[in-house]
């Protein structure tokens, strides 16, 4: 009897293996911060799209957002931002990251972000995010420590004074498991 139970349990093991899951980005707020001696500027976008796939215990995610979806409340400044970031030539910002599926249940997650922006590809290693889980929705918040020099952007100037190199991007995303 014990042998039969052991055989049945062995045969059932694949059922307990991590099932493939898919994730969709339900909502997002991305905010970039630019600092100048005369200005503190924020540009906000709610237009990101994203998808994630988990297979064999590993998950891959892709998030995409257009450069021109960011709005700072000043159309002249937004057009200038579009120009210096080559947003007409490279209209889409993509972020790819990889997580072990086990990380999806943790309060704090760290991952490497591979970002395509302004014609450059930059990897930010071990960026930390906070995670809040409500049912099948996961809210992820954190800050990407982006800089102007990383993406080889010519820093805009006002009155011949350039902006600061740091352009951190605050991330607030809600992912839903399908």
């Amino acid at each position: 009897m014990k042998r039969i139970a052991a055989v049945l349990l062995f045969l059932a093991l694949p059922m307990f293996a991590r099932a493939d899951t898919q994730w969709i980005l339900k909502s997002s707020t991305l905010t970039y911060h630019v600092t100048h001696p005369l200005h503190e500027v924020e540009g906000v976008s709610h237009a990101a799209r994203g998808e994630g796939k988990c297979h064999a215990g590993e998950c891959d995610f892709l998030v995409a957002v257009t450069v021109k979806s960011f709005n700072s409340g000043d159309s002249n400044r937004d057009l200038h931002m579009l120009q210096v970031t080559k947003g007409a030539e490279f209209p889409i910002i993509t972020v790819r990251f990889h997580l072990p599926q086990s990380a999806l249940s943790e309060k704090t997650i760290h991952c490497d972000l591979r970002i395509h922006f302004a014609g450059q590809v930059v990897t930010y290693k071990q960026v930390g995010f906070q995670q809040t889980i409500q049912g099948n929705e996961h809210q992820i918040t954190g800050t990407i420590p982006a800089t102007v020099s990383d993406f080889k952007i010519n820093p805009p100037k006002l009155l011949m004074v350039p902006i600061h190199n740091q352009i951190p991007v605050d991330v607030d995303m809600t992912w839903q498991e399908e």
Binding site: A47, R49, S75, Q83, A88, L159
Partner: protein, 316 residues
């Protein structure tokens, strides 16, 4: 030389040459090769894909990359069983086993599956593809507006000097000197010249279709309707006043408005500069009150951002 020896020497050379030639072919027949093409799901070639060819007996790996046509090729491999693994950024890796036979070149093609693609997010290739022409237009616009900004700042110098000398250019003929009036007139002419050069770069900077003015720039543009006509009227009234004074008359009639018009013009010009310079910090509260009259409420929609593409596919 003895003819017999000559003939023997010839045949000996021929045999040596044949032996030499045969040694190459023998070596070639002892090795094997593999080649193939790596493509994506649409058949498009994948350049610079990494190809690892691993001998399953010796566990030695030979690494190569696909060329611009997506083709890889490796020869001089020992015959035997191999595992070929192909990987490229944005694609799932693929592996296949091949058996290489001496003297033959095996063909093995791969089709890689994209890991996650923009198309899956509802972003078409046309949307993802940029426009160098549009970028060039933006670059020209920014360049011209930079010149506009710098000329505008430079113009403030003779403008301020004109206003200051203006205080000593009017009044009774006995009080003010003609030299001061001449200086005031010259500074005014310089100011006007720089002003219209500044305006040129703003007016003729390329417009970007589909964008609506929003924020402080609206106030900046609105003020141009004050200082623009003012900068035309002020020199005209100034010339009339200058002529009257040169004739020994007191300034009268419409020419008397020269000073007031000049002050309003200069004030509007100064506000226009401040409106696009100071957005935060002390001393900007008055400007903020004016600016709030022109600010639009922000409203971002996915549809607007992706130019009318339907809502993200895959949302259930």
């Amino acid at each position: 030389m003895n003819p017999d020896r000559r003939i023997a020497s010839f045949w000996l050379s021929a045999v040596c040459f044949l032996v030499f030639l045969t040694s190459f072919t023998a070596h070639a027949q002892a090795t094997a090769g593999v080649s193939g093409k790596v493509t994506g799901p649409s058949g498009k070639a994948i350049a610079s894909a990494q190809v690892a060819i691993k001998n399953l007996a010796t566990l030695e790996s030979t690494n190569t990359r696909t060329d611009s046509a997506g083709v890889y090729s490796e020869s001089n491999l020992m015959p035997g069983d191999y595992q070929i693994t192909v990987s490229a950024e944005g694609f799932d890796s693929e592996s296949a086993s091949v058996s290489l036979v001496a003297g033959a070149a095996q063909a093995k093609n791969f089709t890689l599956t994209p890991t996650l693609t923009l198309a899956q997010l509802g972003i078409s290739p046309q949307q993802a593809e940029g426009s160098p022409q549009e970028q060039a237009r933006l670059n020209k616009r920014s360049h011209m507006l930079q010149i506009h900004q710098r000329l505008g700042l430079i113009t403030t110098i003779p403008l301020i000097a004109t206003v200051v000398t203006g205080a000593f250019s009017g009044g009774k003929p006995a009080v003010t000197s003609s030299t001061t009036r001449d200086l005031h007139a010259a500074l005014g002419a310089t100011t006007a010249g720089l002003y219209f050069a500044t305006a040129y770069y703003a007016i003729f900077a390329p417009k970007i279709p589909g964008t609506k003015a929003e924020g402080p720039i609206r106030f900046h543009k609105a003020l141009a309707w004050i200082h623009g006509p003012g900068m035309i009227l002020t020199p005209i009234l100034g010339a009339m006043a200058f002529s009257q004074r040169a004739s020994g008359e007191r300034v009268h009639g419409i020419a008397k408005l020269h000073g007031q018009v000049a002050i309003i013009t200069a004030a509007a010009y100064g506000l226009a500069i401040l409106s696009v310079t100071l957005h935060s910090g002390p001393g900007s509260h008055a400007a903020h009150a004016f600016l709030n009259l022109f600010r639009h409420k922000r409203s971002i929609s996915v549809h607007a951002a992706f130019d009318g593409v339907p809502a993200q596919t895959g949302v259930r």
